[in-house]
Symmetry: C2
């Protein structure tokens, strides 16, 4: 039996706080029994909830704080107002101090990113953080990054995103050498932004051992699952992710409207209920809940703020797997193996500057 | 009765060339009988097809050329190789010479954009072209631009896109003062790219009479139909559009798979066939086919290259409406009315430079 994974939870994060975090942790524990939790937040709310789950209670420490980051706080506000006393900060600090292996929060994304960067610092050799999302595709799942940690990216950062995303893909998709595509407005070499073209040249020539560079991919390729890892800068990535979410919701809405339009369609719905349930399960955003922060010297998972216990449990499960399968070591190894290519990037950027 | 709209068609454009263009024109003529066509291309292919549609034949001139732009041509190649002899160029030239009111092509987008810009020139006061797409939403339809004409945008261009998109919305959506949102990674004022924030300030303070500025919108807002006009630069817009297309296709595929999984679901499908047909119609990309080129001194419509006759007819219908309801005049008027705000943009940009 391996050592339990120690998970620090921001007990107050998200739209529903402890009422989702605690039952979410309980479900996650069922999936991965070798987990210990430390939950930070208001003990008056947390303890009675934890007590409802004896298995969880046996493996959980509750650490009290009455300071919480609000969903409406701007990152700078959150830092100033809550100092180092918020449940979010304390969860990160547990990782920093080596008391936990991963921090998980459903709270304010901007605040979590800012606090993570300050508390855990960047991994040596990486300049900027990223958020990687899992994306359900026709082929299974892909990883898309950056979905909104930072805006804009030079060639260096796009290459780093490729390396970090591949390390995560090796864990999530169980693929030794994941395929990587750079998101662009066309697949021809001449198209797109200068930074994306430069990153493409590096990835093509660089022969980075930990990934198989596919070339450019377009928006339609994400859902097809053309590549295992889709790389783009945070502005475009965030908009692509949210546009896809919006489209899925829109079609779900169309489907509901049409299936309840008349008696025939309602009868059809009853017969095909199993199929609709399967469809709903496939489109369930909870199954891919949990954005992984990459580039930090520590593992941090961001759960969707509005999710329920099942969704939160999925985010915890991702955190568990990232620790169990050594995300940070995998990234460090890949970076070390790609030193040459990364120096080539730097040289090319300098040459153009 | 008003004057017929004179439509110039690139007869050789698209994946299927004349076999889609001609029957597409015939269908469009049924929708809008006050149309005259001039179709450029290989007369040996075009004439027999036109002859199959007597009503179309009566209102169509075929002009022969055996030069065609290939779907695989790069824009510069297309310009060099085909000179001014291609069916695409000749359709644009007909507009330039005042012999047609609008040019429509299902051909190579990059080549069409390059040739349009050279042949028709920019509208005075506008620096760069844009492509506006119609986007089906839960509230009806919205206009999204730029979906890929140019990459990157300063505040000036984003304000111009807002004005041009609103002019188009007045025609397509029959709204006197359309709502406009700037696509961003969050709705708070502090988020996003500097250019987007600057454009937002101008639009908020500028009181441009032809549009109602809503503020920032996110990717999820597009499908919701939060605003009539969604404005973004071409890289992000193209990726958002294609990501949504990919997601719709993906969910359609899931639905097909689930509905044919077992006997019960197949029976359900039979009962609800009417509902599924209605759903398919709602999701049919042909109904929103036809990207409108904006910013040029002439009306040009780009049809999807892979569409069929019905889809091409929709693109022709958009072209018809743009002419009939005076797109160019509406843009010119809106620009004139917004002179003050646009000068403010220029001043602000200069101040920061």
């Amino acid at each position: 039996m391996s050592k339990p994974v120690r998970i620090a939870l921001d007990g107050m994060g998200g739209d529903h706080g402890p009422s989702v975090v605690v039952p979410g942790a309980a479900r996650a524990l069922e999936m991965n029994p070798e987990t210990n939790f430390v939950i930070f937040g208001d003990e008056a709310q947390l303890r009675p909830l934890v007590a409802q789950h004896p298995a969880l209670q046996a493996r959980t420490t509750v650490v009290h704080t009455d300071v919480a980051v609000l969903m409406t706080d701007k990152p700078s506000q959150a830092l100033r107002r809550t100092r180092r006393a918020s449940s979010m900060w304390m969860a990160l600090e547990a990782v920093k101090k080596g008391e936990a292996d991963v921090a998980i929060s459903a709270g304010n994304t901007g605040a979590l990113m800012a606090m993570s960067t300050i508390c855990l610092r960047m991994m040596p050799g990486i300049d900027r953080p990223a958020i990687a999302a899992m994306w359900p595709t026709l082929r299974g799942r892909s990883i898309v990054l950056d979905v909104g940690a930072t805006i804009g990216a030079d060639a260096q950062h796009l290459v780093d995103l490729s390396i970090m995303g591949s390390a995560m893909a090796r864990i999530v998709l169980h693929i030794e050498r994941p395929t990587v595509g750079l998101l662009n407005v066309g697949t021809e070499d001449i198209k797109g932004i200068e930074e994306v073209k430069a990153a493409s040249r590096i990835l093509r020539d660089g022969a980075i051992p930990s990934l198989a560079y596919h070339g450019f991919v377009e928006g339609t390729d994400i859902g097809k699952g053309t590549v295992d890892v889709v790389v783009t800068e945070g502005f475009t990535g965030n908009i692509a992710l949210k546009t896809a979410e919006g489209t899925a919701r829109q079609i779900g809405e169309y489907l509901r409207t049409e299936m309840s339009r008349n008696v025939m369609s309602k009868i059809g719905y009853l017969f095909a209920r199993g199929a609709f349930n399967a469809l709903r399960a496939r489109m369930d955003p909870r199954t891919v809940n949990g954005g992984v922060f990459l580039g930090l010297d520590g593992v941090v998972i961001k759960s969707h703020g509005g999710t329920d216990a099942l969704g939160f449990a999925k985010a915890v499960e991702i955190g568990f797997n990232m620790v169990r399968h050594g995300l940070l070591e995998k990234i460090r190894d890949s970076l070390a193996q790609s030193d040459e290519s990364r120096s080539a990037v730097a040289a090319e950027i300098d040459a153009r500057a």
